[in-house]
């Protein structure tokens, strides 16, 4: 297991390097730093002098990959690639491109906790709610309850999450005044700001996930060991909980794990709609302001989280299914 994790980590580092190279190429070769400067400064006051100043402030005035003006190792380290791309591995994110914004690392550290507050309870509740609903449908399979449950799932997954948010905000915040429309405070008071986004996000994803999990459960239920368990005289509930659920847990963990990176990155749309100052809202702001430094950083962070979560999922397999041996 230890060796497996080491190997996966090394492969993850290789993947991260690929992501890094690809992003750098995408951001600096398609458009020159001059183009970015012009776009970011915007308006009429663009001249070469302003552009040069903008580039110098952010360290974009260096050569891309190789600096012939320097000596020794500095030929490689005193370049945009080294300072803005390789440094990400040391989690040094540098300054953002926008005029007023400051250090990205500082923002990320502060905003990560907000995202966690939203996404961690959401992740756990989502898993519980979807699995519970799927279990209910599987228990009452081939009945009216199951049929209409699946119909409801299909209907729910055909509705864009934006509709849930807008209707939910309108209904619960404006008409019923149960929760504030948007905003954020520190401490325990944050709960009342989190209830609505968590509830609506649960609802928005319930249909798709419950249907998927139901299919996974039913596939397990068709197997021989289930018939054996029933033949032993076990009750349907015991079969479902002790046998089927344990075995269906592997595909469920895999599909739920795909959301794990977003536990840290936060849900983009929900954070932005509910005015939560998390990483998701940060990304949307950065895209709106065309702040490429932030977008590059978030691409890197996102893939880092993805790789870490996949290693975690693999470890979770061994817990869910003792037959799985990682080697």
């Amino acid at each position: 297991m230890g060796r497996y994790i080491v190997r996966r980590t090394l492969y993850g580092a290789l993947v991260l390097l690929g992501v890094n190279l690809a992003t750098f190429f995408l951001f600096f070769s398609v458009n020159t730093p001059d183009d970015m400067a012009r776009l970011n400064i915007g308006g009429k006051r663009v001249n070469q002098e302003v552009i040069d100043k903008w580039k110098a402030e952010r360290g974009y005035d260096k050569p891309l990959y190789f600096n012939p003006a320097r000596q020794g190792a500095e030929r490689f380290t005193d370049t945009i690639f080294w300072e803005r791309s390789v440094s990400l591995f040391a989690l040094r994110f540098g300054r953002s491109d926008a005029e007023s914004a400051g250090d990205i690392g500082h923002e990320v550290a502060a905003r990560m906790w907000v995202s966690l507050q939203l996404a961690l309870p959401l992740f756990v509740l989502q898993l519980i709610a979807s699995t519970a609903f799927a279990l209910l449908l599987a228990l009452f399979r081939h009945t009216r309850l199951d049929f209409w449950g699946v119909v409801a799932c299909v209907l729910m997954l055909s509705i864009s999450s934006l509709f849930y948010i807008i209707v939910g905000q309108y209904f619960f915040s404006r008409v019923l005044r149960l929760a504030p429309i948007s905003g954020y405070v520190g401490g325990w008071d944050v709960l009342k700001f989190l209830v609505l986004p968590i509830g609506l996000s649960l609802l928005a994803r319930l249909g798709g996930e419950a249907r998927l999990y139901r299919a996974m459960l039913l596939e397990e239920m068709g197997k021989d060991y289930v018939r054996t368990a029933r033949a032993k005289g076990l009750s349907e509930l015991a079969v479902l909980y002790r046998h089927v659920l344990r075995n269906a847990l592997i595909p469920i963990i895999t599909s739920a794990g795909a959301y794990l990176p977003y536990v840290f990155l936060g849900s983009l749309v929900f954070e932005s709609f509910f005015g939560l100052p998390g990483l998701g809202a940060y990304i949307i702001e950065a895209i709106g302001k065309q702040d490429f430094a932030v977008v590059r950083t978030m691409v890197f962070l996102g893939s880092l989280l993805y790789i870490v979560s996949y290693i975690l999922i693999d470890v979770a397999y061994t817990w869910a299914d003792p037959r799985v041996r990682l080697a």
Binding site: V30, N31, D146, S161, Q290, V299, G302, Y306
Partner: protein, 478 residues
Amino acid sequence: MPKFVLLWTDAAMWAMALALLAYVLTVLRRPGLRASWARVFADPAALAASVLLLLSLLITLLDSVHYRPRLPAAAGADATAYDTRTHSLLDALLVRLVDSREATYSRPLSYLGFTKESVELDGRLQRVAPRLQFGGAHLRDPQREWLADLAWRGALGLLAGAAIAAGLSLALLWRVGRARRLPWRQGIASAWREGPVRWRVACWTLGVLGLLAGPPAMWAGHYHVFGTDLTGNDVLYQALKSIRTAFVIGTLATVATLPLAVVLGILAGYFRGWVDELIQYLYTVLSSVPNVLLIAACVLMVQVFIDQHPEVFETGAERADVKLFLLCTVLGLTGWPGLCRLLRAETLKLRELEYVQAARAFGVGDARIMRRHVFPNVAHLMLIVTVIDFSSLILYEAVLSYVGVGVDPSMNSFGGMINLARSEMSRDPVVWWSFAAAFAFMVALVLAANLFADGVRDAFDPRARVSRARLAWRKANP
């Protein structure tokens, strides 16, 4: 003669329509495929959904013929000038809706404006809602006539809708009956009652659609059925135009994933070894970046390029269209890993099967084995994933538009409508009709796509049938 404009997405959509036609002809010739598709349409939900999708496709194709009308020649000018705005055939059909701009918001089917204006009445300054320029303008005494006018137009619409639906249904049944080589009356009766494909479901769907669309079509000539937006544009028109955007994204972006996914997936599974390692590395890199971020990064770069080179595009519509086309390409280039992984796994299984081994023993080349023996046996996966992705991409477009990397703001799309609706819903009194229209159209389209995708998956993937709620239910309650 107007000047015809072939936009990039137009060309792509027509190519797609031709490809669809070619596929239909292929299906008709091959008994195996034909049986699978008969299973798809034997599912009533899928059949009903495909009627709706076909209708949307029709609207999309109508909206994919663009031209710039010729302007009346100015005195003394020799050269013919063309309008700077690009119209489509759909615009020409809905010309009344395009030309019927109000000043600002108005409620659905209303004859009064939404916002009150100060008007001098009987020597006093009063706040009254003004009459609309277009909505209900034909009414002389709207307070008395309005309801009756709506009622008789609605009734007429219902009748017309029912009549058109009945006509189309009869034509469909007649065609099916003729294919069964029956005289026309028995043919129609047999098509209605018998057969694995329940054609009467299609007829019922047509009927419901006719009844739903009839009254609005009648009202649309004299009212704004879904009201107007902030700038006074008809919301129904926007919703109809958004169908094309959704369709283009749903189809183009999924089709754009196919070449990479199919070629790389089969290569990786077939050759294994270092080819497999390399391709796996490629798609792990791509899929390790959260999708929205990857798309945002690519779209931002495209945007910078377009902003730096404005001279390439003749009109605003062309620029918006190229952006849409590039968005689909980006979605395609970032979306292939999922299907690629599936195809690789399937190919790994297939390459060990006897018929592939036999082909290899006979000395058939690798390329030929992949084309003739592997590809046809993974094609069903391709089809299933394509139809499933279609609906999720329509939903995705709304999110991307919200994030700011979606379609051009000048192009009508459901995402754009929802975006505007967000601020409208927080007004007091609330402006709900744009939101409601986007909701109704989008849910109908996505639901139809989902039901169709379910039907396709059940018919082509025998494993999926285990979890089918409908079939099992019918067996339990005959």
